[in-house]
C-alpha cells in the first residue's frame, strides 16, 4: 500500500527551472507513466522521487510522510535505470542478491528470495552468468529482478527498455505489464515513447518544459487532449493542426482550412459552442483517422489533391493539399494510388478538436 504525492515541487539546475510547481497524486498499485520529450523534466522528477536528486521547493510525500530530506536508501523505493546499472563484477545471482545482502538478510532467506524472483522473470538458468554475457533483454530482466527482490514500496523505472531494439522492446513491454498485474506495486515509469505510455499506463502524466500538461487515462489524453502540445505529442501519426476560419451558413457552420475556396461542413452547434471565440485565434485539430477520404465526389466532401502517400502496411497516410495547408489522412492501404491523384475529403466533426492558438488550450468543443 503506497501512495506517492508531489506537492508544488520545484527544481532548478543553475538558473534553469526544470520542474515548475509540479502537483501529482499517485494511488496505490497505480501504473503511472511520465511522458514527454527529452529535457522536459520527467527523469528529474523520477530521480527526485527516488532521492537521487534534491528539490528546491515543495514536498515529496510517500504514504503521507514528507521524504524530501531522506536519502535514497531511506525511502524504500526501487529503481530500474535505462543503463541497467548492473554491477559488472558480480554474477546475476549476486546482482539480484545485492539489495538483500546490503541490508544483512539471512543467507537462506536471500537464496529463496533470489530464486523465486529469478523464476518469475524466467532467468533461473542465467544466475551464474556475468552481466557482460547477457543480452540486452536479459540484462533488463536482471535489473528488474534486483528491484523486485526486496519488495519495495514503489518501483521507479527510467526508460527501462529505451536501450533495446524495437522487437525486444515490444516483448519487454508486455512482460512489464504482465509483471505489474501479477505483483501489483505502485509504479512510476518514465518514457518518451507514447506507444509505450499508452500501452502500459493506468494514467499518463504528460510533461513539457518542466510543466505538467495533462494527467489522464491513455484514452483521455488521446481523445480529449488538454492543449495543443498534448494533442500533437500523443498519437502517431501526429494530429493535424491548422488555423481555421469559422463562418455561419444557412443550416450549418463552415470551417475553412488554409484559405481554401470552400470550407468543411460542421453542425451549426459548433457556433454556439465556440461562443464567439475570436476566429483569428482558432485552430482545428484533427487526427488523420478523422479525415475521411472518398474517390468520388459526394455531399459535404471537398476536392483535394494527394501529395505524398506513405504506405505503413496496415494503412496508408496520405498528405492532402487543401488551400495552402496539408492535411494528413489515414486510408486503407492502396486506397490512393499515388501523388497527384484527385480525391474528396471531409472532416468528421465528432473527432475535431478546437484550440485557442494564443494559449494553446483546448476549447473543449465536442460535437
Amino acid at each position: 500500500m503506497t501512495q506517492i504525492e508531489l506537492r508544488g515541487v520545484q527544481k532548478y539546475f543553475g538558473a534553469v527551472q526544470v520542474i515548475k510547481d509540479l502537483n501529482l497524486k499517485i494511488d496505490d498499485n497505480e501504473f503511472i507513466v511520465l511522458l514527454g520529450q527529452s529535457g522536459c523534466g520527467k527523469t528529474t522528477t523520477l530521480r527526485a522521487i527516488a532521492g537521487l536528486e534534491t528539490i528546491d521547493g515543495g514536498d515529496v510525500l510517500i504514504d503521507g510522510k514528507p521524504v524530501q530530506h531522506l536519502k535514497a536508501a531511506d525511502r524504500d523505493i526501487a529503481m530500474v535505470f535505462q543503463s541497467f546499472s548492473l554491477y559488472p563484477h558480480m554474477s546475476v545471482y549476486e546482482n539480484i542478491a545485492f539489495p538483500l545482502r546490503a541490508t544483512r538478510k539471512s543467507k537462506a532467506e536471500i537464496d529463496s528470495e533470489v530464486r523465486s524472483v529469478a523464476k518469475t522473470l524466467q532467468i533461473s538458468d542465467l544466475l551464474a552468468r556475468k552481466p557482460s554475457a547477457l543480452s540486452g533483454g536479459d540484462m533488463q530482466r536482471v535489473a528488474i529482478g534486483r528491484a523486485l527482490v526486496r519488495r519495495p514500496k514503489a518501483m521507479l523505472m527510467d526508460e527501462p527498455i529505451g536501450a533495446l531494439d524495437a522487437k525486444l522492446r515490444e516483448e519487454m513491454r508486455a512482460e512489464i505489464k504482465r509483471l505489474h498485474i501479477k505483483q501489483g506495486s505502485t509504479t512510476i515509469y518514465v518514457t518518451h515513447d507514447q506507444i509505450e505510455a499508452m500501452s502500459l499506463a493506468d494514467r499518463i502524466v504528460i510533461m513539457h518544459e518542466g510543466v505538467l500538461q495533462q494527467v489522464g487515462s491513455p484514452d483521455e489524453v488521446y481523445s480529449r487532449p488538454a492543449n495543443l502540445f498534448v494533442a500533437q505529442f500523443v498519437g502517431s501519426p501526429v494530429m493535424n493542426v491548422a488555423d481555421v476560419a469559422v463562418a455561419e451558413k444557412a443550416s450549418s457552420a463552415s470551417v475553412t482550412v488554409g484559405g481554401a475556396a470552400t470550407g468543411f461542413e460542421f453542425p451549426r452547434a459548433l457556433l454556439s459552442k465556440l461562443n464567439g471565440h475570436a476566429s483569428d485565434k482558432l485552430a482545428l485539430g484533427i487526427r488523420p483517422e478523422g479525415v475521411i477520404v472518398r474517390r468520388e465526389a459526394a455531399e459535404g466532401f471537398l476536392p483535394v489533391e494527394a501529395q505524398i502517400v506513405e504506405p505503413l502496411g496496415s494503412f496508408d497516410i496520405v498528405d492532402l493539399k487543401i488551400g495552402s495547408k496539408m492535411l494528413r489522412a489515414r486510408t486503407r492501404s492502396g486506397f490512393v494510388s499515388g501523388p497527384g491523384v484527385k480525391v474528396f475529403a471531409r472532416i468528421d466533426p465528432a473527432q475535431a478538436h478546437f484550440f485557442d492558438t494564443a494559449s494553446g488550450k483546448s476549447l473543449g468543443v465536442r460535437l
Binding site: 537521487l52 536508501a73 523505493i77 529503481m79 535505470f81 554491477y87 546490503a102 541490508t103
Partner: protein
C-alpha cells in the same frame, strides 16, 4: 579480437608525396629505438650473463676464468646476502603498503567535486617529479636530529631518524612513501573516476551503506588498476638504490642494490656481482609474475 595493427597512409599526405610507403615510415620510427635497446640493454644483459659464470674483475688485467655456477652457489649460501634480501623485503612491504594506503586514501578524498581539484592534484604530484637525489638530500636535512624540521614539528627533541639502526630503514621508507604515493594516487584516481556514477546511484537505491558500497562496488572495480600501481611500485622499491644510499649508510638499510653496487664498484667482484644481479632479476620477474597472474584473475571478474 582482431584489431588493425597499421592504418594505411593517407595518399594525400606529405610523406606519401615524398614517395614513402607505410613500411618505410614504420621502419624510420622503430629501427632507431630497436638499435638503442639492443646496444644499451640487451647486449649488456647477455654480456653480463656470460660474466656471471666467471671470476672476472674489471679492476685487474687478469683474464677471466670460467668458474661455472660457483658465483651463484656462494651467493645463495651467503647469510649476509640473505640478510640484504630480508632488509629489501621489509623495505618493499613497508613502503608499498604505505604508498597504497596514502595514495588510495588521497585519491578517495579527491574523487569528488571540490574547488581547485585540478590544481590540487597537480601540486600533489610534485614529489614524484623530483629527482631521487634531490629528495634524498633534502629529506636528510628534514630528518636532521639537531635542526631538522620534522623533529621540531613533532616535538621529538633530538630523535635520531637516520643514525638509529632500528629507525633508518623506516625513515627511508617514509621518504619513499612521500615521494611515490602521488603515483598510486594518480592511478587510483583514474580507476575511481572510471567507476560509472550510476552504479553508486544503483547501490544507494539498493540501500547499501557507504562501507558496503566501498568494499563491494568501489574496491573490486578499482582493483585492476590499483594492482598495476602495486606492480610498478614493488618493482621500483625492490630496485631502490639512490634514496637509501644518499640518506644513510647504516648496515640495516643495506638493501640488495646497495650490496650489489658495493660488490661491483667498490670490491670490484665483477663476475660475482653479475651473478647477484641475475638473482635479483629472476626474483623481480617471479614477483611480478605472481602479480600479473592475480591481475588477470581480477580482470576476469
Amino acid at each position: 579480437m582482431a584489431t588493425a595493427v597499421m592504418t594505411t597512409l593517407d595518399p594525400n599526405s606529405r610523406s606519401a608525396a615524398r614517395g614513402m610507403s607505410d613500411l618505410t615510415i614504420r621502419n624510420l620510427f622503430i629501427i632507431p629505438t630497436i638499435i638503442f635497446l639492443i646496444v644499451f640493454n640487451i647486449f649488456p644483459l647477455l654480456y653480463s650473463l656470460g660474466y656471471s659464470f666467471t671470476d672476472f674483475r674489471a679492476s685487474s688485467p687478469a683474464a677471466a676464468n670460467f668458474v661455472g655456477l660457483q658465483n651463484y652457489r656462494e651467493l645463495l649460501n651467503d647469510p649476509f646476502i640473505w640478510s640484504n634480501f630480508a632488509i629489501t623485503a621489509k623495505y618493499v612491504i613497508v613502503s608499498v603498503v604505505g604508498q597504497v594506503i596514502v595514495g588510495f586514501g588521497v585519491a578517495l578524498l579527491l574523487n569528488r567535486d571540490i574547488p581547485l581539484k585540478g590544481l590540487l592534484t597537480t601540486l600533489l604530484l610534485l614529489p614524484m617529479m623530483l629527482s631521487m637525489a634531490v629528495v634524498g638530500l633534502f629529506w636528510k636535512l628534514l630528518y636532521d636530529p639537531s635542526f631538522g624540521i620534522i623533529n621540531y614539528t613533532l616535538g621529538l627533541g633530538s630523535f635520531e631518524w637516520l643514525s638509529n639502526p632500528d629507525m633508518a630503514l623506516y625513515a627511508v621508507a617514509i621518504t619513499d612513501i612521500w615521494m611515490w604515493s602521488p603515483f598510486v594516487m594518480l592511478l587510483s584516481l583514474a580507476g575511481l573516476s572510471a567507476v560509472p556514477k550510476h552504479l553508486y546511484e544503483a547501490a544507494a537505491i539498493d540501500r547499501a551503506g557507504s562501507f558496503y558500497t566501498f568494499f563491494r562496488i568501489t574496491l573490486p572495480l578499482v582493483a585492476p588498476i590499483l594492482m598495476i600501481a602495486i606492480i610498478f611500485r614493488t618493482m621500483e622499491a625492490f630496485k631502490t638504490f639512490d634514496l637509501a644510499y644518499i640518506l644513510t649508510s647504516q648496515p640495516t638499510t643495506e638493501v640488495i642494490s646497495i650490496r650489489l653496487y658495493k660488490m661491483a664498484f667498490q670490491e670490484w667482484q665483477t663476475g660475482r656481482s653479475c651473478a647477484l644481479a641475475y638473482i635479483v632479476l629472476i626474483m623481480i620477474l617471479a614477483i611480478t609474475n605472481i602479480y600479473v597472474k592475480y591481475l588477470n584473475k581480477v580482470k576476469e571478474r
